[in-house]
């Protein structure tokens, strides 16, 4: 009985040190989040407010989108609407080609990953440079992100050093200038040096690029602002040097006004990285002098999710990553064990909403511990949604046959009390099965467990004989 996730996770378990480090790293972020939560007496009120604000906005989304668009247009922004990923990619390409853009610098956006923007642009001859340090490392190493906020924590510094040396053209020059600037020698295993290399390399990219693309953490309907939060300032560099700015925004990112923004600004970094704030919280309301700004509002299934009574609350998600940090399964299996590009509790649910047949392998990656429900700043009912997706698997033709058989077996036993009691009487016979037979693959319990000893008498039997 296995899924792609369980198989991948099993392979991952072989590297005990790696698993340990991954688990410690992300539980550490969960602990930082806990400290933030304990420091604010109003913490639970903030979560409740965030949940209610999102529920309100999402259930009035069409009106708010119209307001947002009207304000953005009034501010001199071009607003586009993309029904799906294909249309989104077309719109981006059209804007870029109209401006004869050959190189784009971009800040992190899960939406662009969802729509496979980078591959699409590269195919059509436009160079895309990720400017978030983690994303740039992964881009150069041709690896996928393993987490939505800290995507490259699983990568070792030595491998980053190697990659930079091989792929960054003026690496040696940069190394020399590093030694000249400080009194530290350029050490390829030193994150400070590696970050410096990335800084110098990316500055060149900012200068060469003709366009900057960002995502949007929030859109504010009342003013037409797009808010982008980063620790590095790469979204700001990407939009301060090149003159063309394209924003990619999922329609569910909208919030009504600045009063709401106060709630979300205070929650985002505390939940995502355990900091009181990201270093930069930038409000883009209109184009730069001499520049142009475009916002592409992307649906790509979101308006349909709204109609899904059991799962519409995933639209409240602000992509903070807190759920994966607290998930004991994510921490021990890591992003690459999941088949959807977003892992963890929210990833299981979003993947099923994207394509329930393709991404059903992730539904096994949950012990239903409910920790995620308790950290989510917007109170998305994640574990309940996973439970509900499990009920769908059979009708999707994705239920594990062994699980189904075991469930049917149990169901038969439990619905026939006399048969059940006979089975109980016979169960001590299991004690006599020789260990080698017991430990066969056919007995999945034996994988990690010593087999239980069945007591001579079940409670039912004891009750009859002793207690009455």
């Amino acid at each position: 009985m296995s899924t792609q996730h369980s198989k991948a996770a099993e392979v991952y378990q072989q590297h005990t040190e790696v698993v340990q480090r991954h688990d410690q790293t992300f539980f550490g972020v969960r602990q930082k989040r806990d400290r933030m939560a304990q420091a604010l007496p109003e913490w639970e009120r903030l979560r409740e407010a965030a949940s209610q604000i999102k529920k309100h906005t999402i259930t009035h989304l069409a009106d708010y989108l119209e307001t947002f668009e009207a304000n953005a247009v009034r501010n001199g922004v071009h607003v586009h609407w993309a029904a799906d990923a294909d249309e989104y990619n077309r719109i981006v390409y059209d804007i870029l080609s109209q401006h004869q853009v050959k190189k784009v610098v971009k800040s992190k956006s899960m939406l662009t990953e969802e729509c496979h923007l980078n591959e699409n642009l590269e195919k059509r001859g436009i160079d895309v440079v990720e400017t978030d340090l983690g994303e740039r490392i992964l881009q150069l190493m041709k690896l996928a992100p393993s987490h939505i906020v800290m995507p490259a924590l699983h990568v070792h510094r030595e491998d980053i050093g190697n990659t930079f040396r091989k792929l960054i053209p003026n690496f040696d020059e940069i190394a020399q200038s590093y030694a000249a600037v400080g009194s530290m020698p350029a050490d390829e295993n030193d994150p400070t040096f590696l970050t410096f290399v990335a800084r110098m390399h990316l500055r060149q990219q900012f200068a060469e690029a003709e366009a900057g693309m960002t995502g949007a953490n929030f859109g504010i309907a009342e003013t037409g602002d797009v808010v982008v939060c980063t620790n590095e300032g790469n979204a700001d560099m990407s939009t301060s040097i090149p003159k063309l700015h394209i924003v990619s925004m999922g329609i569910e990112k909208l919030i009504p006004n600045y009063e709401a923004m106060g709630v979300f600004q205070r929650l985002l970094a505390r939940n995502g990285t355990g900091q009181e704030t990201t270093v930069y919280t930038s409000h883009f309301r209109g184009p730069r002098p001499g520049g142009e700004m475009h916002i592409i509002l992307v649906d790509n299934g979101r308006s349909s999710i709204l109609g899904n009574e059991e799962h519409w609350q995933t639209l409240k998600c602000m992509r903070c990553g807190a759920c994966m940090n607290t998930c004991p399964v994510y921490r021990r299996s890591a992003g690459y064990s999941y088949t959807y590009f977003i892992p963890g509790p929210i990833g299981i649910n979003l993947g099923m909403l994207r394509d329930p047949r393709q991404y059903s392998d992730n539904v096994s990656a949950c012990s239903l511990c409910c920790s995620c429900d308790n950290v989510c700043p917007a109170k998305v009912d994640l574990s309940t949604q996973v439970y509900r997706w499990r009920q769908q698997l059979d009708s999707l033709g994705k239920a594990d046959p062994m699980k189904k058989m075991m469930s049917q077996g149990m169901s038969f036993l439990f619905n026939h009390p006399s048969v059940y009691k006979t089975a109980l009487k016979c169960s001590p016979m299991v004690n006599w099965v020789p260990a080698p037979l017991m430990n066969l693959k056919l007995n999945p319990w034996a994988y990690g467990h010593q087999m239980m000893k069945f007591p001579k008498k079940s409670f039912h039997e004891l009750w009859k004989e002793v207690i009455i």
């Binding site: 099993e10 012990s367 698997l393 469930s407 439990f414 109980l424 010593q450």
Partner: protein, 246 residues
């Protein structure tokens, strides 16, 4: 007050002593306890595996069988939670319209909140590490979830403090999941085992001789993992400690 004793399927089959302790303890408090014999299972294993439709007849039977009682008490946090939180939906009714779901409680919350036990003749001169089972914490509210900013409390510990000679500790990551999760343990074997190992090791690190908790399923999983690795710690259900001395 008439109490209906609900002994979950795996407690029935594997840990009948937990059922016996529960019965003895309730009787020692002068309560009227019955055990409707036609009971089998609450349906949680099938539900969590994705076949909750198979649990519907069990929920119906449960509702009928336990209708005559004021409280249904079970020595299992996850089973009590499944009945209370999921049976109404299975029955297509509101919780207040169900016969049994609304009054089904785990033994810990029953003793702590309903009977409000203030003393017990229990003696257990050992150091125990408390296992805060997930469904107990987050569905029944047996203790404050570590994720939340709420006043700290732990009903299991409150009850254990009534036991003479006992030393009670909690492990690091006091309410992280042990990795049982029902079918999760067999479908995601490797991760489940790792979660179990990590949890057992954290319990051992407290220096405790026993791991104790309100859910035999968690204890069963951890015990299986511990025995396979020959790790030195024992497992006992909370109700057995509370009933010691009877």
């Amino acid at each position: 007050m008439k109490i209906g004793l609900f002994i979950p399927c795996y407690v029935d089959a594997l840990y009948p002593e937990v059922g016996v302790s529960t019965y003895k303890l309730l009787k020692s408090l002068g309560l009227d306890v019955e055990y409707p014999e036609r009971q089998t299972c609450c349906g949680q294993p099938m539900g969590n595996a994705g076949f909750e439709r198979m649990s519907v007849p069990l929920a119906k039977k449960f509702d009928e069988l336990f209708a005559p009682y004021d409280y249904v008490v079970a020595p299992s946090a996850s089973c009590a939670a499944y009945v209370r939180c999921f049976h109404p939906n299975l029955l297509g009714k509101k919780p207040e319209d169900c016969e049994a779901a609304g009054k089904t409680v785990d033994i810990v919350e029953f003793l702590h909140d309903v009977i409000q036990v203030k003393s017990l003749p229990a003696k257990f001169p050992h150091k125990v590490s408390v296992h805060n089972s997930c469904h107990g914490v987050r569905e029944l509210g047996l203790s404050s979830p570590s994720e939340r900013n709420v006043p700290k409390f732990n009903k299991i510990i409150d009850l254990l403090q009534l036991v003479e000679g006992i030393e009670v500790v909690e492990p690091e990551r006091p309410d992280e999941c042990c990795g049982f999760g029902g079918m999760f343990a067999v479908e995601e074997q490797a991760v489940s085992r790792k979660m179990g190992l990590d949890k057992v090791n954290r319990h051992i690190a407290t220096g405790a001789e026993y791991v104790t908790g309100p859910d035999s399923s968690c204890l069963m999983h951890m015990q299986g993992v511990a025995e396979k690795e020959q790790l030195p710690i024992q497992f006992i259900h909370v109700v057995q400690i509370l009933a010691s001395g009877l």
